[in-house]
């Protein structure tokens, strides 16, 4: 039983890392950031390549997150900034984001080959195991959960206690008014995509090591689940995204344990999403940040 709790928590942690970035971007820029899935895959690929070069797990996590961050900044600076300036319609911005996603996915194929890549050894088992109340879990799982908890706390501190964070929240509420009272909205957008890129790159690196499979379409699942989560949590709400990630991670772990036939994860999240949308059209938790 406790085993399921641990597995569910690890899965929820991955979802939190992805969904928080998505919901922040949506809150600040009102863009459904589909290309987030590609940023996540960039993290996975880069950390694998770094590991193959240096055999250092921590270093490859850092490099993976940083390159993810650079990718996110590039997407924001080159594409989104221009689109927001021209005032393109919502649907066409989504189309552009999907275009970036498709192009990056194909770029992975050209750069890293069409095959699924994996680490030379199981990183997740590298740091030993902990036994607690007849439950065995790896140090890797524990550190993933702890790192995500610290990310949440750090984000809470950033959003509520720092000037930049408050500016971000203000921009999410009303970008025009924020710029009228002297907030540099463009800077806020850069900061947002920086944070989101870091989180997505870190998520990609961690997930790549955990499941030991890195493929170019790994972002599909991440973005599907991420979209479901940000709607469940109420678009733009960070707390909502965290809660929805926990619910979805647990629901998925339990469902996989109960049903013998393997079903794709999106067949758990999307029916749940539709059900919630019917009952509560604004998501589980209404509100922002």
């Amino acid at each position: 039983m406790l085993q399921y709790l641990i597995n569910g928590l690890v899965l929820s942690s991955f979802y939190i890392l992805i969904a928080v970035g998505l919901t922040l971007i949506y809150g600040v820029m009102k863009i459904l950031h589909i290309a987030h899935g590609a940023v996540y895959a960039v993290g996975a690929y880069v950390s694998l390549e770094t590991f193959l070069l240096t055999h250092d797990v921590i270093l490859s996590l850092i490099v993976g997150s940083c390159v993810g961050c650079l990718a996110s900044l590039a997407i924001q600076g080159v594409v989104y900034e221009r689109l927001l300036a021209t005032g393109a319609s919502r649907v066409s911005v989504v189309v552009a984001s999907i275009g970036i996603y498709i192009a990056m996915k194909d770029a992975f194929r050209l750069l890293f080959g069409p095959y699924t890549l994996s680490y030379p050894m199981l990183i997740a088992n590298l740091f030993g195991k902990i036994e607690l109340f007849t439950t065995i879990f790896t140090v890797y799982q524990a550190s993933v959960i702890l790192s995500v908890i610290s990310v949440i706390l750090g984000l809470w501190f950033f959003l509520n206690k720092t000037k930049e964070g408050l500016a971000l929240k203000a921009t999410a509420q009303d970008a025009e008014m924020s710029s009228a009272v002297g907030i540099n909205v463009r800077r806020v957008r850069v900061v947002t995509s920086l944070i989101c890129g870091l989180l997505a790159g870190y998520a990609g690196s961690v997930v790549g090591m955990y499941y030991n499979t890195i493929e170019r379409s790994m972002g599909d699942l991440a973005i599907n689940q991420g979209l479901a989560i940000i709607v469940l949590g109420g678009m733009g709400s960070v707390l909502g995204a965290v809660v929805a990630s926990l619910i979805l991670g647990m629901a998925e772990t339990v469902t996989v344990a109960l049903i013998p036939q393997p079903i794709p994860p999106y067949l758990i999240s999307f029916p749940l999403l539709i059900l919630i949308l019917v009952l509560r059209p604004t998501g589980l938790l209404k509100g922002r940040s």
Binding site: R90, V95, Y101, V231, Y266, S269
Partner: protein, 294 residues
């Protein structure tokens, strides 16, 4: 060079694709609802038609309207759930529904499961099977019929009301337009178009697979529509033809086709946000001036 037979096949596919796009144009172009799961309704039409003809032995002429009704019904029930949702919620809900419908079909053995359904019979006229190059005539006739209805619709009272809703649904509501009902009507008609397109598709290829109604296909439809231009009749027509001939145009770069496709999508939205022939685009205004000048 492209052989004439292959060209006729491409014409059939253009017509099939145009019919889906016309449906999407009603929902997304005229009424302004972010509808990102249109391929699911194409698939519903295709599967309905395939099952009715293959398992129940109906003729194409009976299965075609029935598959339209089926797609429309499912579209209406989806619309009923989703219409309370705001813009981006609706976008994600339709993405979710696309995956759910695809997932249900690929997990149901009676619908062919993950293997799809093959051996769907071609349409018949007086014991003559319409196949291959002759199919393009059938597709063209049906497609022109649907295009005609589409043009009539866009000039009708409902069409004007749709455009009003796309402009500002609150104002439309104040002017006495029943916004929810007209949105539902748009979804119903749009999905019927998709169902008709799916039925035509499955009787042409004789085969339907869950991948044909995936989210990628929905995106291809939205991209083609945005490329051609939303909210006009010429836009979807150009989009359908371009989307069908696109793989041929970039045959020289087949290795990089997806990369080019993705980059083109971004450039398109960046430099041609209204599409080539959309309402308010420069190309359209230029063409209109040329036509009027003569």
């Amino acid at each position: 060079m492209v052989s004439p037979e292959y060209l006729l096949t491409l014409i059939s596919f253009s017509c099939i694709s145009l019919m889906s796009l016309l449906g999407l144009n009603i929902i997304l172009g005229y009424t302004g609802q972010p509808w990102l799961g249109h391929a699911a309704f194409f698939g519903v039409g295709a599967y309905t038609s395939a099952i009715l003809t293959k398992v129940y032995g109906l003729s194409f002429w009976a299965a075609f309207p029935l598959s339209m009704c089926m797609a429309s019904l499912i579209g209406l029930s989806v619309g009923f759930i989703c219409l309370r949702l705001k813009e981006d919620f609706l976008a994600i809900a339709t993405i979710a529904l696309n995956f759910v419908i695809q997932g249900i079909i690929s997990l149901t053995p009676q619908l062919g499961g993950a293997l799809g359904i093959g051996g769907v019979p071609p349409p018949q006229i007086l014991n003559y099977s319409i196949t291959y190059s002759h199919y393009s005539v059938l597709a063209l006739v049906i497609c022109l019929l649907f295009l005609f209805v589409h043009i009539k619709l866009s000039h009708s009272w409902a069409g004007l009301a749709w455009k009003a809703i796309a402009g500002d649904d609150l104002v439309a509501n104040v002017m006495g337009i029943n916004v929810v009902r007209l949105r539902l009507v748009a979804v119903g008609i749009g999905c019927a178009y998709a169902g008709a397109s799916g039925s035509l598709y499955v009787h042409f290829t004789g085969f339907i697979h869950p991948i044909d109604l995936g989210f990628d296909q929905s995106i291809l439809m939205v991209a083609a529509l945005v490329f051609g231009g939303c909210g006009t009749t010429a836009g979807p027509t150009l989009g359908a033809v371009f989307a069908t001939f696109f793989p041929e145009l970039f045959r020289f770069a087949s290795e990089y086709r997806l990369l080019i496709y993705g980059i083109l999508l971004v450039l398109l939205v960046k430099y041609l946000p209204q599409g080539v022939l959309g309402a308010g685009s420069g190309v359209r205004a230029y063409l209109q001036r040329v036509v009027k000048g003569k």
